[in-house]
Symmetry: C2
Subunit: 334 residues, 2 copies
Amino acid sequence: MVTIKDVAQAVGVSASTVSRALSGSSLVNEETKSRILEAAQSLGYERNELARALVKGSSGAIGLVVPDITNPFFSDIARGVSDIADRNGYGVILSNTDDRADRELSYLRLMRRKRVDGLIVCSARLDTPLDESLTSAGTAFILVSRLSIDPDVPYVITDDRAGSRLAVEHLVDLGHRRIAFIGGPENVQSSRDRMDAYREVLNEHGIESREEWRLFAGFTQGAGREAGRQMLLHESERPTAIFAANDVTALGVLEVAEGLGLRVPEDLSVVGYDDISYASLPRIQLTTIAQPAIEMGQIAAGWLLRSLEDEDVPPLQRILTPRLVVRSTTAPAS
Amino acid sequence: MVTIKDVAQAVGVSASTVSRALSGSSLVNEETKSRILEAAQSLGYERNELARALVKGSSGAIGLVVPDITNPFFSDIARGVSDIADRNGYGVILSNTDDRADRELSYLRLMRRKRVDGLIVCSARLDTPLDESLTSAGTAFILVSRLSIDPDVPYVITDDRAGSRLAVEHLVDLGHRRIAFIGGPENVQSSRDRMDAYREVLNEHGIESREEWRLFAGFTQGAGREAGRQMLLHESERPTAIFAANDVTALGVLEVAEGLGLRVPEDLSVVGYDDISYASLPRIQLTTIAQPAIEMGQIAAGWLLRSLEDEDVPPLQRILTPRLVVRSTTAPAS
DNA sequence: TTGTATGCGTTATCAG
DNA sequence: CTGATAACGCATACAA
């Protein structure tokens, strides 16, 4: 690899002058500057960001921690983050935790060892010392779509309680009384909030909230199938509507429902959450609660980068408003 | 940040001893080693990988270049890559090119400046000096699901011609004679291969290959809608089957078809490519050509990492066999 | 077994 | 405007 020294030698100046020229310093003779640039070009010089990072104390990279990049909601967030990061010359280091505390911790440590300038975390859990491990580390960070116990951390979320209420009220409005809820992981704040709001709405309407119709499962399609099967198996005990904490999960429910010969929405109404792009396909037409995932990624990355440049940007705590999108998987209770 | 020196001072040894102890060198007294480890622990020492990278000449990161992480095919690949990389302590730096040559080039340069140890590229184009920019750089790399002009580069692909043949022959077997093809970007090898094989099969069966039924579009849902609309608009000139170069595109086709009041598969058969997880949803049931995306990512990452450790692993040129998955979007021509 | 000195490629400080 | 020189944090060759 050709270094700054090689360029210096080629041009016949000192390394410092080359460094200055290359970083566009104004205090360097225009003519020598152009000679340096030219030489750098023809020698194929590429600045070693590692060395630069070492002395500048900033790596020019941010870490992105998601449960599973395969989930469209998170790949959308990743896309948003990546767009902003790229535009500002930052690299994005990706890692998947599968919502496992141990992996989350170990990746966070890896990121810190790599001296990422900032962290975007979409997989914060409640039962894990994430907060301390983040906050104490002195690395800038922001949570996306997750909350932590600590109320002071920056985040970008949508109002999960409001979103959940929207979904359940929609179902109630349609005349459903046997409404089930399949949540994500229990140790995730958004899961709990959606669960709480679900129970709250049922309560407000004097609707019985049966324990078998209330499950913390997970954010995967498999979890949806599993939980869905469990709830739909016994005909007499079957709910007429299922609210799944996540579109992917809802798709799993759709799958078992279909397998059990149930028609959606005639026999079963299904509501999802996220409004991933596949939810709007004509064949799917999933009623769901929309979250602007790409935008959330952009907002988070935007704030993070700004707070890296600027010492004193106030911590961002942005709560976006979710939106009910009624499509064809919900219908009046029969 | 606490450095190796701080630990050294705390324990009362030299920095080099700490360095040795921390990297598990055997030539250091067991007792001092444990004292060092303990001190490092309690001081919250985290090795600065940047500094380490600088001296070792290896950053412990690999770059992953995809057209769009939002496309399930690529997020699957990313997942496979990430799994292997993480397991080996490597970081994954992600970037999205949207299949644009300029972005591809600039990200590749960014990666090189960041001194990634290796590169996994899923967005190689034919009309761009990527190959040179890669090969000449001396950074190890491997192409996934893309080919380049240079026959000697390492890659993991599936046999695109074979896959395309599978799809078109399936359609022909069903009695279709008016078969259209919507390809990906024209400057991508896999696009061309699929197009070629499509024409080849039609030829072999003496089926007319109309120009209006042959389009290079793109790998996005929007491209599918656009191209699909164009082909389906005029009733008299309508194909009875469309083979889309990609599931996402096929979903777009499904969307316009539905919008135009066409029933699939009664009025129109549709075949996709990739077998993304949403293709198997009961509501979708897309007939498609399966590629093992996660596995491809794993294979590529596995080889890349091996070739980083080991100087002389032979270049991998792995061609996986695609598989026809018949579901419900194809039916005999009426 | 440990310490000293040196270098990885940059940037920054301080003279000139 | 330019050039030494000293860091940045770590690893290692060489001494001790």
